[in-house]
Amino acid sequence: MKKLINDPMAFVDETIEGILLARPDHLKRCEGSERALMRADGPVEGKVAIVTGGGSGHIPVFLGYVGPGLLDAVSIGNVFSSPSPDDMLAATRAAHGGAGVLHLYGNYSGDVMNFGMAAEMAEMEDIEVTTVLARDDVVSAPVAEMDRRRAVAGLFFAYKIAGAHAEEGADLAAVAAAAEHAAVNTRSMGVALTPCTIPAAGEPTFTLGEDEMELGMGIHGEPGLRRTHIMPVDDVVDEIMENVLGDLPFASGDEVAVLVNGLGATPPEELFLMYRRTKVILDEAGISVHRAFVGEYATSMEMAGASVSLLKLEGDLKRLLDAPAYSPFLPQWPR
C-alpha cells in the first residue's frame, strides 16, 4: 500500500484535522460530532439547509461541496462506509436555519438506512427533513428500476442545482424538487483502469489485469458492464455514450451540461481526450453543450478511471447551474 498516510485507522480523522487547519474560514465542526462539518458562516438563518454525507475517500465529494451556493453541512464516514446516524443528526441539527433540511446524497444502502434513522431522529426534534437521492449510474440497474441505481459523479449536478435554489431563498419543497429534477435528468457511466486501497484494509478490494479495464464499474469497485482489454479512449467513450444517451433518452435538440470526471489517478490530459470524443458524439446527435466540466469532481482515492455524466437542461436547471457558488475544494467553474 503506497500512501502518504500515518496510522491507517486514523486516516479519516487526521484528514479532517488537515482540512480544518487549511480551511478555517470555510469550514467548522458541527456541535456534538467529530465527524460532521458545516459552513463556517452557518447556520444560515431562514435558508433551507442542505445536508449530505457518505463514506470518505471521494474528495471533493462530500465535504468539498459545502459552501455558499452549495451545501450547508456534511457527515463523514470511514473510507467507503456510511457515516453514523449520530453524525448525520449532528449535521442536520447544526445546519438547520429554521427552514427545514434537505438530505441530499447518493443512493447507497448504508447511507440510506443511516440517514433514514437520522431523519427519524431529526423529525422527533421537530426539524422537517426531506430526502432526495442521486442515482445517475445507468449501469447499476435497468431504467425501470431507477430507485436501485447507485450514484456516481453526476451527484455534482444535484448539489449545484439544489444549492443554488436554496441560496435564492426557495422553500424546502422547491429545493427538493429542483434536486430531484437534476437527479432524474442526470445520466452517468464510468470506466475503471486500476483499483484503490482502503487504508484500513491495506489491500485493493478488486484486481484488474495488466491490460484490463472495466466498463461501468462503480466508484467503490462495484461490478460494471463488462471487463475488457484496454481500448482506445475513443472506443471507450463511444460505448459509454451509447449507454448514457439511450437511457434517458437524450434526443436531438436537447441542451446538456457535460461532466467528465476523473477518479483520481487519471491525468487531466486524458479527461480532455474523453471530452473530445464526447463532444463529437453530441454534435453528431444534434445535442448542444451549454457547459462542460472536466476535472476531479468525485474521486476514489488513487483509482484510475473516469466517467461521463450528462445533465439534460430544462426549466430552471440552466439558471441554477450557472449561479455562483464557492468551495476551495472544487475546480474553478467554467464561465
Binding site: 447499476s140 484494509a201 467503490h220
Partner: protein, 212 residues
Amino acid sequence: MEKLTGADIIAFLRMLAEEMPGHRDELRDLDARMGDGDLGITVSIGMKAIGDGLADLEGETPGTILARSGMSFNREAASTFGAIFATALMGAGKTVRDQEEITLADLPPMLEAAASDVSARGGAKPGEKTILDVLLPMAEALKGEVGAGSSLPDAARRAHEACVEALELTKQMEARHGRGGWLKEKSIGQPDPGSTAICMMVECFARFVAQS
C-alpha cells in the same frame, strides 16, 4: 446455564468483541467478492466499539445492553451492516425491555422482532440474500427447541446448526440489497457475507452458553 443476566450478556459481548476481529480478513474477502470489502473492517471496528461500551452498561438489563450495544456498533462502524445490525439488536432488546434475565423461551420472539425491524428498515424480504435468511430459520429452530424442552446450551448448538444450514442456502440466492445487489445473478454461488458474520456470532454464543 439456563438464564442470561445482564452480566452474562456483557460477558458474551466481550467474548464477541475479542473474537470477531479475528474473522476480519475472511469477512473482507467474502465481501470483496460481493462488490466492496468493507464488512471485515465494519465487524472488527463495530465489535471493538461494543466492547469499549460495555463498562458503561454494567448493571443494565439484557435488553438495554443489547440495544445500546447495537447503537455503539453503528456509531463507530456505520454501514449497511451497521445499520442492519443495530436495528436487529435494538429490535431484539426491545422485546425483553424490562426483564432482568432472559431464557430460551425469549429467544424466538427476540429474533422475530429483530427480523421484522430489519425488514422495515431496509425493505428486504426473505430469500433476498440478507441476514433475514439466517435470522428467521434460527427463530424457527429455536421455537422447536422451546417446544421440545431443550436446555439452553443444546438449543444454542441447534440454532447454530440451523444457521449454518441456512447460510448454505443463501449461496443459491440472488442479492437484491446493499452492494451485492448490483452483482445480480453473479451474486449466486457466494454465501451472504452479513449472514456469515451472524453465523460466526452464533457459533460464539453456543460456545459461551456451553462453557459458562
